[in-house]
């Protein structure tokens, strides 16, 4: 056979790739979230598993529907919709009714992401946006205290942030850091088991699936701000409490780190993360809301393009083809 009849593949350099893909990142985040979700389901029973299933499934269906309506290629394969569904479920109480879950994933996937042009184009973390709207519309569904009326726990079944907000540090003495880490607190399905969240977070950071700068500085922001408040007035709960209650850990490892809505340069990531932590504690301590993470994340999402401009200049002129 003459060599000239062979059809070689022609493409542009580079001819190697490191093998990473959006799908594999999503897969890792999904599997990793199980460290927090499985204990959550264990704690809250079948209802929790139901919420998770409905959330992930409906998120995927919403995206499929949009793909279909907008005649774009099917994008659910990248796993991003599933991740959004999972994030949302992790934030929800186990008692969330199915219709609220489905509405939540609609808000997150359709309003939070697809309207802006799909993956990578969302200015806000879609799950956070969805959850924030849900909470505005149906606040009673997300009253964590009411949500656990039918459960019998061997720990204080009161949302710790409510206690600290109304009665101060004194009231939450019984929540030791160890207790909190072990998930002996009520809250979102995937938001309370601190040990699991930390394992998950460390894994994601080491593998480079999230940008560690953001997570670490988010936590540092929470820590420093809580310490400052405590120093101002001992009424406020200390850093240990703020770090391991509410959505702090899930916020640091899963929410603030969402790719499209966060910066990529080093210094900006530090500022972005720290600001998130700072706002979280400020809202908790002197704002009107019980937990500040969601709003803090939305605010830093908003300023991220601005923050990301702080960077060294590019090198002088490189190669041109002249």
């Amino acid at each position: 056979m003459s060599s000239n009849t062979i059809k070689l593949t022609v493409s542009h350099a580079p001819f190697w790739h490191n093998g990473s893909s959006t799908a594999s990142k999503s897969r890792n985040i999904l599997l990793d979230s199980l460290f927090a979700v499985v204990p959550g389901c264990y704690q809250y029973g079948r209802a929790a598993a139901g919420v998770v299933t409905i959330a992930v499934a409906s998120a995927i269906i919403w995206e499929l529907l949009i793909n279909f309506l907008s005649r774009r290629s099917i994008s659910v394969g990248d796993g991003n919709a599933a991740v959004i569904g999972m994030m949302l479920a992790m934030l929800m109480p186990a008692t969330t009714p199915w219709w609220a879950v489905v509405t939540g994933t609609f808000l997150a996937v359709v309003i939070g992401k697809e309207i802006f042009g799909g993956i990578g184009a969302n200015p806000f973390n879609p799950a956070v946006l969805g959850m924030a709207i849900l909470m505005l519309g149906w606040p009673f569904l997300f009253d964590f205290n009411a949500s656990v009326l039918n459960y019998a726990f061997d720990f204080k079944a009161i949302y710790p942030l409510v206690l600290s907000k109304s009665f101060g540090a004194h009231a939450v003495d019984s929540f030791t850091v160890m207790e909190l880490l072990k998930g002996h607190q009520i809250g979102g399905i995937g938001a309370t088991f601190g040990i699991g969240l930390i394992i998950a977070g460390v894994y994601l950071m080491i593998r480079g699936y999230i940008r560690w700068e953001i997570s670490i500085f988010f936590l540092a922001g929470v820590f420093a701000t809580a310490l400052f408040f405590k120093w101002l007035n001992p009424f406020y709960a200390g850093p240990g409490f703020h770090l391991f209650t509410g959505y702090t850990l899930i916020g640091a490892f899963f929410l603030a780190t969402e790719d499209a809505s966060s910066p990529v340069n080093f210094i900006p990531m530090l500022i972005y993360g720290f600001l998130g932590g700072l706002l979280t504690v400020m809202i908790r301590n002197i704002g009107v809301h019980i937990d500040g993470v969601l709003y803090a994340v939305l605010i830093i999402n908003l300023v991220h393009p601005l923050v990301d401009k702080i960077r060294p200049k590019a090198m002088g002129k490189g190669v041109s083809h002249e």
Partner: protein
């Protein structure tokens, strides 16, 4: 393919291949029947060419397109007869004139001795007129062009793409001829500041070259001329532009040999990488078809495979296996169909990997959005398109598998073309 590291917390790294302690001797591969020379021909002189089909050619003869002194040319590596002259358009419209020479049947080569007498009196003119077609493709025009006068000669003993060991081989095994070349370059250019740039492990042998030795690290793309200029030569030359003339170690060694013996070397050394990843050093006459090399090593290619001239990050993939070895072909590699990277026109997810690896500090994540929207001018004005040194690293790490590098090259090409057109219209 080198996989993403398990520990992604650190910046992704790629390392240049280091030559073995005792590299195997290069295999000599013969050209079968014909050689083809791709001569740079931006103005398309094919028609006006002084060359004619049927012209006899001697080995070592200068094959120039026009009679003008600044006409581009190559050297015929074998004697024979011109059998075809054609325009060849390469990647992004780069134009060549392809001159095919049917080789004389008998092994005895008829040598051209025009250079022989010129070599008695080494001069920059002689070198420019006769040696630009040497293996390694030395560029003597930099000494004559206006703008910044050249103050420094940088000899590259480090390879530019990942798998090649071609230049390292010269430093390791031919340091004497590199020294001769350096001395000659000094003599003909009057420039005494010569710097030999090598990977760390070759620093010692490089010492005997008589040039100042500087080392680059093994991390891609530190051996890129722009980065060398930026990081290593910044004290020697203004960063802004010229001031430095770059030569590959192979070219310098060839210049030395040419003046010493009166015969320009016509064999190109290259690193050949087969489908299974085996690397061999090969020495072939310039113009030899890649197919001849494949045949020599019994490397079968099939439909859908890729033949790459140049390395895995910056090379070009060619349409046909009869693509010839050119004076600057340091690497030839074959990639089997199943190892070819699938690229997608997907959206950037803002993972930031490209920004972490870009040696030029470009915000590739923003640049790529601009390029995907085909806003090339904005890409150049606001997102540093022209700071790109074309290392390809961004595409290598892109999580969305966007052909970022291709977008960049296309944008540069389009903008330059527009500028060119405007100039011509005025």
């Amino acid at each position: 393919m080198i996989k993403r590291a398990f520990f992604g917390i650190l910046k992704p790294k790629l390392h240049y291949k280091q030559i073995d302690e005792a590299p195997a001797q290069p295999t000599s591969v013969r050209a079968s029947q014909k050689i083809t020379l791709y001569i740079d021909d931006p103005d398309q002189n094919t028609e006006a060419s002084v060359l004619k089909v049927g012209d006899p050619v001697k080995s070592g003869q200068k094959i120039a397109l026009t009679a003008k002194a600044d006409s581009s040319y190559l050297l015929a590596s074998r004697s024979g007869r011109i059998s075809n002259i054609a325009l060849f358009v390469g990647i992004f419209g780069k134009k060549f004139t392809a001159v095919t020479i049917d080789m004389d049947a008998d092994a005895a080569q008829i040598m051209d001795d025009v250079f022989k007498s010129a070599s008695q009196t080494p001069s920059l003119e002689n070198a420019r007129a006769m040696l630009a077609g040497l293996p390694g493709k030395p560029d003597f025009n930099v000494f004559l062009s206006g703008g910044h006068p050249v103050k420094t000669i940088a000899v590259l003993g480090a390879d530019s793409d990942l798998l090649s060991i071609t230049r390292q081989y010269f430093v390791k095994n031919n340091i004497i001829s590199i020294k001769t070349g350096i001395d000659l370059l000094r003599k003909i250019t009057g420039i005494h500041n010569v710097i030999l740039i090598v990977p760390h492990h070759l620093a010692q042998v490089a010492g005997s070259s008589g040039a100042t030795v500087k080392t680059v690290d093994s991390e891609y793309p530190s051996a890129h001329p722009h980065l060398i200029r930026q990081h290593i030569l910044s004290s020697e030359a203004p960063i802004s532009g010229a001031g430095v003339a770059f030569f590959s170690a192979e070219a310098v060694s060839a210049i030395g040999a040419a003046f010493n013996t009166g015969k320009p070397p016509l064999e190109k050394l290259l690193s050949f990488i087969s489908k299974d990843g085996t690397r061999r050093l090969v020495s072939v006459p310039i113009g030899t078809s890649a197919q001849d090399i494949l045949n020599e090593f019994n490397e079968k290619i099939k439909d859908g495979d890729q033949l790459i001239v140049g390395g895995p990050l910056t090379g070009i993939s060619v349409y046909a296996s009869d693509y010839p070895v050119l004076p600057d072909t340091d690497t030839l590699m074959v990639l089997s169909k199943k190892k070819i990277v699938e690229r997608e026109e997907s959206a950037c997810v803002n993972c930031g990997e490209c920004v972490r690896v870009c040696p030029s500090g470009i915000q590739v994540n923003l640049l790529v959005r601009c390029l995907e929207a085909r806003k090339f001018q904005e890409a150049s004005d606001r997102y540093d398109l022209f700071s790109c040194i074309e290392c390809g690293f961004c595409s290598y790490v892109c999580e969305s598998r966007i052909p970022v590098f291709q977008h960049i090259n296309l944008a540069k090409y389009t903008l330059e073309h527009m500028k060119e057109a405007e100039k011509n219209n005025v």
